[in-house]
Symmetry: D2
Subunit: 360 residues, 4 copies
C-alpha cells in the first residue's frame, strides 16, 4: 500500500466499465486499487486474461486475480472506497451493505441513481448535489452515483447554456457506441450494416436522470427540473463514444456569440485540483463536421483526463431553436471516469476525509 493513497476496491472489475476503472485508477494519485472484485464469470482469473480494452493494460494490475470480494471481507481488509461497475440489479443491495460497513461507494450502476438521498453527480454540472448525502446514515460510508452514459454527455453540454436559454423542451437523439452494452454485448450479426433504434430503459433514464441532475437542491432535497426531455436512443456500429443530436427550444434569445462564449469559458472546477477533471470540460469545435466518435472520443486535457471532456459542435441557433451535436466517451466520462471524478470531488469538498473515511 502506497503511503497516503486511499485503499480502494473495484467491483465488477472484469467487465468493460470495470476495466476502465482499473485503467484510470492504476496510477491514480489518491486512490489505490487493492482489490479487484469479480462477477460470476471472472472469479479467480487474472485481469490480463479478461482484458477487452484496446488500451494497454496497467502493468501493476495485469496479474492481479479477481476475487469474490464480499462487503464484509472488504471492510475487514481496510478498504475505504469502492468503485462499482456491478451490473444494475445486483449492485443495489451490495452497495448499501458496503456503505453500512463504512465503505463509501462511487457507482456506475443505475440502482441508486434515483434514490433521493443519493447524489446523482456530474461534478461540473451539479456539485451542490453532494449535499443530498447528508441524509444517508451518519455512521456509514456514502453512496454517490454517476449518471447514465447518454445523460452525462447531454447535461454537460447543456449546463453552460441552460439558464440563459430557459428551455421549453429538449430533444435528443443518440448514436450510441457498442461498448455501451458491455461485453459480449451486441452481437456482430445484429449491428453490422445496421442501426438498432432501441436500447432498453435508456430513453427513460435520460429523461428522469436529467431532471434530477438539473434539478434544484433545497436543503438536502432535490426538486427535479420539469423541462420535458424527448429522447430517442439508437445503437450504431462505433466502438466507443456516444454522439447525440440535440435541439433545445428556448424561451429566451441570447445572441449566438454569447452562447459560444458560455460554452468556451465554462470550467466550474477550475479552482479545484482534481486529477481526472478535464479543462475545459466542454470542448467547442468549429469545423462543419464535428464532433465525431472516431476523432473526438478521447477529448480531454490534461492527459489523465483523456476521454473526460464533452465535445460540442455544429451549433445552429435559429431562435427559438438551438441545435448542436455533443459527444462524450460513454465508458470514461459516462462511466468509470465519472465515478472517479465524483470521488475526487467528494474528497476535495471534504465530504470524505483524506484517509477516505466519511467526514463527521
Amino acid at each position: 500500500m502506497t503511503e497516503g493513497r486511499i485503499p480502494a476496491a473495484i467491483l465488477g472489475a472484469g467487465g468493460y466499465i470495470g476495466q476502465h476503472f482499473a485503467r484510470l485508477l492504476a496510477d491514480h494519485p489518491t486512490f489505490e486499487p487493492l482489490v479487484l472484485g469479480a462477477g460470476e464469470r471472472s472469479g479467480g482469473r487474472a485481469l490480463e486474461d479478461l482484458w477487452q480494452l484496446t488500451e494497454a493494460i496497467p502493468p501493476d494490475l495485469a496479474r492481479v486475480r479477481l476475487s469474490p470480494a464480499s462487503p464484509r471481507s472488504l471492510a475487514a481488509s481496510g478498504i475505504r472506497v469502492a468503485f462499482s461497475a456491478l451490473p444494475s440489479g445486483t449492485a443495489g443491495p451490495i452497495e448499501s451493505e458496503l456503505a453500512r460497513r463504512g465503505i463509501s461507494v462511487f457507482t456506475n450502476a443505475a440502482d441508486h441513481r434515483m434514490d433521493p438521498r443519493v447524489p446523482l453527480l456530474v461534478p461540473e454540472v451539479n456539485r451542490e448535489q453532494l449535499l443530498l448525502a447528508r441524509r444517508q446514515p451518519r455512521r456509514g460510508g456514502i453512496v454517490v452515483a454517476n449518471a447514465n452514459c447518454s445523460t452525462t454527455g447531454l447535461v454537460l453540454a447543456l449546463r453552460p447554456v441552460w439558464s440563459r436559454l430557459a428551455p421549453r423542451a429538449v430533444h435528443a437523439s443518440t448514436y450510441q457506441a457498442l461498448s455501451g452494452a458491455g461485453y459480449p454485448g451486441v452481437p456482430s450479426l445484429t449491428i453490422t450494416d445496421n442501426v438498432v433504434p432501441f436500447i432498453r430503459e435508456e430513453e427513460e433514464k435520460v429523461a428522469r436522470e436529467s431532471a434530477k441532475i438539473l434539478g434544484t437542491v433545497r436543503g438536502s432535497r432535490v426538486r427535479p427540473d420539469e423541462t420535458p426531455f424527448l429522447v430517442h436512443c439508437a445503437r450504431v456500429a462505433t466502438r466507443e463514444g456516444h454522439l447525440e443530436a440535440v435541439t433545445v427550444e428556448a424561451t429566451r434569445r441570447p445572441d449566438r456569440a454569447e452562447l459560444l462564449r458560455r460554452w468556451s469559458t465554462f470550467d466550474p472546477l477550475s479552482a479545484f485540483a482534481l486529477p481526472t477533471a478535464p479543462h475545459p470540460p466542454v470542448e467547442l469545435r468549429r469545423e462543419v463536421d464535428r464532433p465525431q466518435p472516431l476523432r473526438d472520443r478521447w477529448a480531454g486535457h490534461p492527459t489523465r483526463a483523456r476521454g473526460m471532456a464533452a465535445v460540442v459542435g455544429r451549433v445552429r441557433w435559429d431562435p427559438p431553436f438551438l441545435r448542436f451535436y455533443t459527444l462524450s466517451h460513454n465508458a470514461v466520462r459516462g462511466g468509470a471516469g465519472g465515478s472517479v471524478l465524483n470521488a475526487e470531488l467528494a474528497l476535495a469538498l471534504g465530504v470524505l476525509r483524506p484517509d477516505g473515511r466519511r467526514a463527521p
Copy 2:
C-alpha cells in the same frame, strides 16, 4: 421496342441511382429503357462494367453501352420520357432542354425541386401537386421531381397523422446510409468505426422540401406549410436505408389507437393500378426494436414495390409529443423508385398520354 411500352432514357445511368433506375425499369410494363445516358466517367462502357449494386444486373441491360445522350439526340430517336439521375448542378439545364424538346423528365436531381412550376411529388402524399405542371410550357414535356431521400421517408410517415396532429413543430434526426452519397462517395477511412454528423445541404433540403410537399395547392400554386422542421442529418455505416428519429409536437390529442389506425389504413393509391406502388405504403411494426436498416430496407409489396414502403415503428405517444422512427430505402423510395412511381402516376392521372406525350 416492345409493343406499347413508352420509349425512355435513363440519364446518369452509371451512377448509384442510375443503376437503381435500370434495375426498376428493365422489365417495367409501361416504360422501356432504350438509352442509358452516360456521365463523364462512364461513356462507352457497358452497364455491367459499372455495376455497383449487390442486386443482380438486369440481363437485358447488362451489355448495353452508356452513351452521351444529348437532348437533341434523345428527341431525334423518339424518346418520350427521361428518368434523370444526373448530378445536381448539371441536371437543371439539361432537364429543361429535354422538356423543351418534348421529353417529359422525372428527376431525382435537386435542381428543379423548389421551382414553383415543378411538382415535388410523393404520390401518396401530395398527388394534387401534379397540377403545378400546368404552369410549365404547354408545348414541351413536363418536369416532375422526386424529393430528397430523407425528406421522402419523413413525409410518407407524417402524412397519415399530419392533419390529425396539427403539428406545432417536427423534430427529426437521421441515420443515413452510405449509398446516399453515391459511388465512390464516403471514404471507408471516414466512416469505419465512426458517425459523421454532417451532410452538406441536407438539413436545409429536408426543411424546405417538406414545407413544399406538405403545402397547400391553390390553383396551380403551392402555399408551403409553415410548421418548423428541426433536422439533424448524420451519416452512419449502413449500406442502404435511411433511418430517422422523429418527434412531432402536436396541438391536438387524438388517442393512440387512432394514430395507429391512421397509419395502418393509409393507402391513398389503392384505387390506382400503379406497378411500382407499395400497398400499404407505410408499414407499421409493433416490435420494440424496429425499423432497422438491415431488416426493413426492402419493405414493400408486391414484389415490384420492394424498397418502396416506409416502415414506422417504436411509436411513443406522450401528448403533446409523438415519437417514432421511420425508415425507407434511400435509393429506391427516396430515389429512382420515387421517380418511377411519379411517372406512373402522371400516366394514370392523364397528365401524360398513353404514348408518353404530354396530354394537351
Copy 3:
C-alpha cells in the same frame, strides 16, 4: 400434409442454420417441414419471434411454434427425414437415436462427420460416398453429414482440377463470415475494426474432412486422401460468405486453358433433376477482383439454388503453383443447403425410397 411430400423435421430450427433450413424447405417440392424442433432457448416460441435472417421468413412457417421434438415423438408422428442443425456435441446421440427409430438424418453437425459409416457428402464432389451408408444398420434410417462450411467451398473448387493437378500440397487461408459462428456468435466489440485469426477446431476440420471427402471409396470404406492441407482460419467482419485464398502445389502441368475449361464445364449433377442443385456448381469469374462476399455470396442458378454455387476467381497459374480464391455461402452451401442437397441426392440415387423410408 401435402400429397407426395415427405414428412420432415428441422432440428435446432431456431438457430442460424436452422432458419436457413426453414427458408429452403418451406416450399420444397419433395420435403415438407412439419415439425420445427427447438433448442433450449427457443421452445414454445414462434419461428417469427426468433427470425434472424435478413431474407423474408416463409409465410407458412412464420407462426409455427418450435417444440422439443424427441426422436420418439418424431417417429410417432410419422416424420421420415430430419434435417439437423443441432449444436455439435449434443447432435450425435440424438441423431443416432433418430436413425434407430427409422428416421433418416441429414445433418450439419460435426459429430458424425468422421464416422467411417457416415457419408461426408458434397454431391458434386463425392456422391459415391453414399455407399458408406451401407454399413449403417439395415433396419433404421441413415445418417448423412454435410461438411464444414470452409471445407465445402474448398473441395467444390478443387474437385474439377484435382486429378489433373495431382497436388503435392494444398494451402488455404480463410476469410470467414460472422454468421459462421451462429447467433449471438461473435461480439461486435470483438470484430469491429478487427480480424480474429482463430476459429476453434476449424483448421483441423478442414484438413481431416477434405481428406475424407477427396478420399477413395473401396467397397463401403473410404481411404482418405493423403495430400497435406495447410490451413489458416480467420474471422472477418462480413455477414455471410466464406472467402478462401488457395494455393495448390501441383505435380503435373496442364495448361491454363485446360484448367479454366475444367472449371467451366464441371457439372456432375447435370443428369439429375435435384431441385437445390446449382448449375453450374462452380462459377468462374474473370474480373480481377472477384469473388467477393458481398457480391457473390448468393451465386447459384436456378433461383432455388441461390447461395449453392462456389465462385472461383483470380486464377494465377505459375507452375507448379496454382493460386485462386473461392467463395461460398457458409450457411447455405456450407450448411443447410448442403444437407438439403444431400437428401435430394439420396432420393435420386434410391438410397431413400420416394416415401422417405430407407430403401431395403
Copy 4:
C-alpha cells in the same frame, strides 16, 4: 532550427503516410521537419486542415502550411534529408533530382525499390544492404527505400527463423487494412460487409521485394533470394494493421522450442541507440487468437517505437510446415516509420554524417 537537428523535409506531407511522417518526426531528436511538401491537392493548406489520423496532430506542425517544395528550393534552403511519401510514379524523378542536389532521400515510394543501387532496407533484416548505396553517385545524397507494407511485416517475421528453416517455399495471405490505400482510398460501399481479394501490383511487390531484401550482398551487389513466395493479397475492413497468414515449407527440422527462442531473442539493433527502433522488433504472442489488428497494431517499445514491432502468433510447427500469423502497422512499420528508422540507421552506420550530409 533546433541546435543539432538535421534540417529535413517531408514530401507528400498531406497524405496518409505523409501525416505519419509528420507525427513521427515532429519531436524527433535527430531530424527536424522544416518543410512540409504538398501534393497537388494540398498546397497552401495548413497540416491541421488535412489531418486524417485519429492520433493527435503534433502541435508544432499543426499550422504549418504545405508548400510545393521543389528539389531546387529545398536544396537552397539547406534541407539535408527528405522523407518521401510521394505517390509512386511521380516520386522517382523527384527523388533522383533531390539526390543530385545533395539531399538524401528516405522514401516510402515504390519507384526506386528494385533499383540495384538503392538499398531496400529493413534495418533488423538486412542492414548490410546499405552497402548498395556505394554505387550511387559520390557527390550527391543517397536514396534508400523502405519496403512495401505487406513485405515489411513478412520479412521481419521470417528473418529470425529464415536460415534455420532454409525454406523451400513461403506462402502468405494478407488481410490488409484500409489505410494501406491512403485517403480517400477505398470507398465505403466497396468494403462494408465485404472483402476485396485484389490489390493492384501488391502480390508482385511482396514476391520481388522479399527476394531482394532476403538476398545476399556481394560487394555492392545483391543476389536475390530464390525461394518462391506464393502470395494472396486481400483488403478487409480494418483501419490499420496488416495481418498475414504465413506458411513456410522448410527443408530443415529444428525443434519448436528453438524456433520460439529465435523469435524471442531476435534483436539485431540492440547495440544501436536508434530512437525509433523497437525492442524487441518481433513480439511473440502465446494466446490462441493473436495477433489481431485492433489489439496489436501499436506494438513496439519504447513509446517512440509504437507501431514499429511486428507481432507473431499462433505458431504451428508440423514439419516440414511452419504456420503462423504476423501483424504490423502498415503506415508506421510498413511506411513512414520504416523510412525514419532507415535514416536513423544510415546515421548510426556513418553512411550519413551527423550533419546529414553524405559521408565521403
